[in-house]
């Protein structure tokens, strides 16, 4: 009988209201549970806690061990927090460059591989102003779009998922196309260029073109770099393979764009490819002078 119920849900209830409300219920219950699990397990450094035994006769030893453990923990947390701060910095930079209004969010759960759906859960929901079909980005580039939202969580469909496709544009040009993932290779996307005669070179970068009403994708978000092109110029249906800027396996802190920019930021969000002067700092410690620093700017003409 259970089998019949499950089968009929699977066959009939694809978009039904009952299923949706069940989904809402499940997210209401499991959102906090998953957040709890995440907060318990995510920073590995927090596992290092004082494991000192209380009944040890040497109290001093126990106290010192406690101290070492708590300092260790602080040290581990420091690394974690520095990493988090860097991620937030990156996100802020992207949001400022593109003039997106972004709500920062933490990845709390990822879909299991056997379901073959590249989706994940964030710890923000309608109470944070998130709506369905909003763009999700990280400090590196485009992550995906919001596909479902509950009060405290939302579900994001990643770019590599088979159901994702995003209108995209070669940076610096007006050539547009559609970029999609195949759900198989998370580190490679495919872009199909509309114009068969457009120039497309390896190393060129692509950004989002922007959807109608900016839903689900706002314009100007970096997607990735062209790694190879299949087909010859003039042939329709040429495919460029794109290496995405965002590594799906290390997603942690992302942002949901809750307000699109007033104007298309064009290519301004892309990390600047022009030669940036690299500053080399050499510090030599000497016992007398205390230390001398040499700063030598050297313009490197790399880029492309």
């Amino acid at each position: 009988m259970l089998l019949v119920v499950a089968l009929s849900v699977a066959v009939l209830g694809l978009q039904g209201g009952a299923v949706r409300s069940a989904n809402h219920g499940a997210s209401a219950v499991f959102g906090p549970l998953e957040r709890g699990m995440h907060s318990v397990f995510s920073p590995i450094g927090r596992f290092i806690t004082g494991l000192t035994s209380i009944n040890s006769k040497d109290r001093e030893l126990a106290r010192l061990r406690d101290q070492v453990a708590s300092l260790n923990q602080q040290l581990a947390n420091g690394g974690y927090q520095a990493n988090r701060a860097a991620e937030l910095d990156n996100l802020l930079r992207v949001a400022a460059l593109g003039r997106y209004r972004v709500v920062p969010a933490q990845v709390v759960a990822v879909n299991i591989a056997q379901s073959l759906a590249w989706t994940l859960t964030l710890d923000v929901g309608t109470t944070d102003g998130i709506q369905i079909d909003e763009t999700v980005l990280s400090g590196n580039g485009l992550v995906g779009r919001v596909s479902a939202v509950s009060a405290t969580t939302c579900t994001v469909v990643l770019l590599v998922d088979d159901t994702s496709s995003v209108g995209s544009r070669l940076a610096g040009t007006l050539s547009i196309g559609v970029t999609s993932g195949d759900g198989l290779h998370p580190l490679s996307l495919q872009m199909q260029l509309f114009d068969p005669f457009a120039d497309m070179k390896v190393g060129e970068r692509i950004v989002t073109f922007g959807s109608a009403n900016y839903r689900p994708f706002v314009p100007g978000v970096p997607i990735g770099t062209v790694t190879s092109v299949q087909g010859v110029k003039g042939q329709s249906g040429r495919i460029a393979f794109i290496k995405p800027f965002v590594d799906v396996f290390s997603l942690d802190l992302v942002g949901v764009v809750i307000e699109p920019p007033r104007t298309d930021p064009r290519d301004s969000v892309l990390p600047t490819p022009v030669a940036t002067p690299t500053v080399t700092v050499t510090v030599t410690a000497s016992p007398l002078a205390g230390g001398s620093a040499t700063i030598s700017p050297s313009p490197s003409a790399s880029g492309g």
Partner: protein, 172 residues
């Protein structure tokens, strides 16, 4: 109905679903995600029989289909896990077998449920089901599930024995 066993099943499955999606899937292991939920369903079925096994499978499957990052057809995991729970549970009631054989059978719960889920998804036109990825997915799944089963099965046996009134537990 063995209410205690059902309660035990629920108490194990609900946190296991959250743990699988919040922690195990984020480990970034090659291939499949270690399917703790399927192993639990298999272990519960093997210790408590087909009735508890299929109900546990149904509940666990519906949770896997509905809980947030899940996206797509609802009910496919439920079918797979209900079938697996029923089959393992009914096989177990027929013959008493060695612990190793039971652990192996429990470990099979993961890949078999995943295969049923994928076949059903494919039949229902889920565009995400790409058959190229299935062999690696299932073999890695079997490996992880075997490791998990050796750890989880003894725990479930002990818990079921503790909670079940004397004479009802099937494990000798």
């Amino acid at each position: 109905m063995r209410w205690r066993q059902l309660l035990l099943a629920l108490a194990l499955i609900v946190p296991a679903v959250a743990f699988e999606m919040a922690v195990l899937s984020r480990l970034g292991l090659p291939g499949a995600t270690p399917d703790l939920v399927a192993v639990l369903v298999g272990a519960l079925a093997a210790t408590c029989g087909a009735g508890v096994g299929s109900i546990a499978g149904f509940v666990a499957g519906m949770l896997l289909d509905l809980v947030p990052p899940a996206d797509g057809t609802v009910g496919v995991w439920a079918v797979g896990l209900t079938l697996v729970g029923y089959v393992i549970g009914s096989r177990y009631s027929l013959l008493t077998r060695s612990r190793t054989a039971t652990v192996a059978e429990v470990a099979l719960a993961g890949p078999v449920a995943a295969l049923i889920r994928l076949l059903l998804g494919g039949l229902l036109g889920d565009s995400r089901v790409v058959w190229q990825s299935v062999p690696t997915l299932l073999t890695t799944d079997l490996f992880y599930c075997f490791v998990l089963a050796t750890l989880v099965f003894p725990v479930v046996v002990v818990l079921a024995r503790r909670l079940t009134p004397a004479g009802e537990a099937r494990i000798s």
